[in-house]
Subunit: 323 residues, 2 copies
């Protein structure tokens, strides 16, 4: 399941060369980083002898789309725990419809009762003779951070292979930083390779930076622990988060993000979405301008979110009054 | 610009093994067969020393989306001739919006005056000192059939490489047959290879079968002529069209197509659209049932149309009343 790395048209500030890894083109369920991550969870579920996938997430979530689709395609039940607030406050999106297509069983609960609901769902499944698997570990969502990290520790090898073919190394990798799973995986790959590049997560939500840092650290630690490998001492220095480009938090954006989407479509035929990839892409451009980094070879990881690009296009269409 | 060939989940009638070539994942402008075809036109334009792309097409067209995007990304003007009827009678779609993003100059005309308008646009461009290129050849749309065919004559080599790696050959290739360009290219590749497989175009519009046959024949002839290669005598026998699965013509479909879309998403995480790919996929399934073909190795060419999949999803969402 490899994806292509392309050189992009258009200059970055400072004469930096820009490449993009097209994980939006992973060939399952509309692509995106969650395809690798969902596969890692699915494999972990099998290895633990479980037979029901339990996930907490939102009706708009890329991970929930892919996980529910993966379960459906493999004939495994999927239970999706979803907060009431999410159901009541937010309109349906492309991911919402696709999650419905995949037929996951949805369990609603107040946001304050997630742990309780996870516990109840697990017990209920066991009472039916099933062996449920909660992707985040215990009912508080801890203990399984390394599984998601594994996906991008492996994907990192594809980047290494590309570098070896080219005969040079990227100086920086940028990716959107939401849950932190992708970034922690890349950092694991980087630590294992012992190479010199920097991996920068562009924060796209209002999650506190220290909290984001801690979650990534847990991912890295858990991955090394389970892989039985020794964690380099200075590993925390490799966790780099850019928190100046959030634009008001998750899902919020202004015309700078809209311009970035238009520009990358026009220049490179690449769809970016306003929630994750365009915000991170724009943040990367700003960061390069501000820091004055020059003549670096830069890799942007396109983490997908195709359905969100089309949500945006629908909204744009409605705006233009031609819909 | 290679794409993956995947084995699909789910039995085909008659124990046939089904594979799919994911040209929907071509890494430019939302993918699809038109990416290869637009590149072939663009290269031909350059070779002919031209500097303005002129295309006739609809506001919903995948080809117009990709061509306008390609021109925009390479800094070349694109003029799109579009019938009044198309503008007035049909609602905007995702492709419509993306064509607008790419900023093609749109020229409207009555359907009866296409040739005249092509001529006028060409003259107008020349009067400005430009060298316009009309993708279809002369003002009546003849004389350049081989260029589009070339794209899939080349893509056919990717299929051959896959077969060599596997150590066996596909028995049949199915693809949607609309303009005929993709099918004629595949037939060229097949004739050049001298292999034994059958290439079947599933007609998706109400175009008369004889007319579709003629257009494909012109594509094959023109390709061989321009490549300076000898056309095998019996080549017309290789033009195979299935015309029983049109469901009322272009863009029309019933619940059998809808089920096919849901099923392929659920089973394989693959988006099919009701206009081209799902109709052809369904037609393929029906044909295999009716003919009783057994234990063949079958390749379905996914020709893309991602934006149309999301048009369908939007419609479905509205239908479910949850939008």
């Amino acid at each position: 399941m490899e994806t292509v790395i392309q050189r992009l048209n258009g200059d970055l500030p400072g004469g930096n060369e820009l490449y993009i890894k097209r994980d939006d083109l992973l060939p399952f369920s509309m692509g995106g980083n969650k395809v690798r991550i969902a596969e890692a969870f699915f494999q972990d579920m099998r290895e633990k002898g479980c037979d029901v996938m339990v996930v907490y997430g939102s009706r708009h979530s890329n991970l929930c789309r892919v996980l529910s689709n993966l379960c459906c395609s493999r004939g495994v039940d999927c239970v999706m725990i979803c907060s009431h607030e999410d159901k009541e406050e937010t309109a349906s999106t492309n991911n919402t419809y696709l999650i419905e297509w995949a037929g996951a069983q949805v369990v609603h609960c107040p946001k304050s009762q997630i742990a309780l609901t996870v516990e109840r769902v697990m017990e209920d499944q066991m009472a039916r003779g099933k062996r449920p698997y909660y992707i985040y570990g215990d009912k508080f969502g801890r203990g399984n951070e390394g599984t998601a990290a594994k996906a991008y520790a492996q994907a990192y090898q594809e980047i290494r292979t590309f570098e070896q073919e080219q005969g040079w190394e990227f100086d920086q990798i940028f990716c959107p930083s939401g849950t932190g799973a992708t970034q922690s995986g890349l950092i694991c790959g980087h630590l294992l390779a012992g190479d010199r590049k920097r991996i920068l997560g562009v924060m796209i939500s209002s999650r506190e930076t220290q909290r984001a840092f801690d979650v990534i650290r847990e991912g890295v630690k858990d991955y090394f622990l389970k892989a039985g490998k020794e964690l380099p001492e200075q590993y925390e220095q490799e966790i780099l988060l850019l928190d100046d480009y959030r634009q008001g938090g998750y899902g919020r954006y202004d015309e700078r993000i809209e311009s970035c989407i238009h520009e990358q479509y026009r220049r490179n035929g690449i769809p970016l979405d306003p929630v994750y990839t365009a915000k991170a892409f724009w943040g990367m451009q700003e960061y390069l301008k501000e820091t004055g980094i020059k003549k670096n070879k830069i890799l942007f990881l396109h983490t997908g979110g195709g359905p969100l690009f089309y949500d945006f296009l629908k909204k744009e269409g409605a705006k233009s009054g031609r819909c």
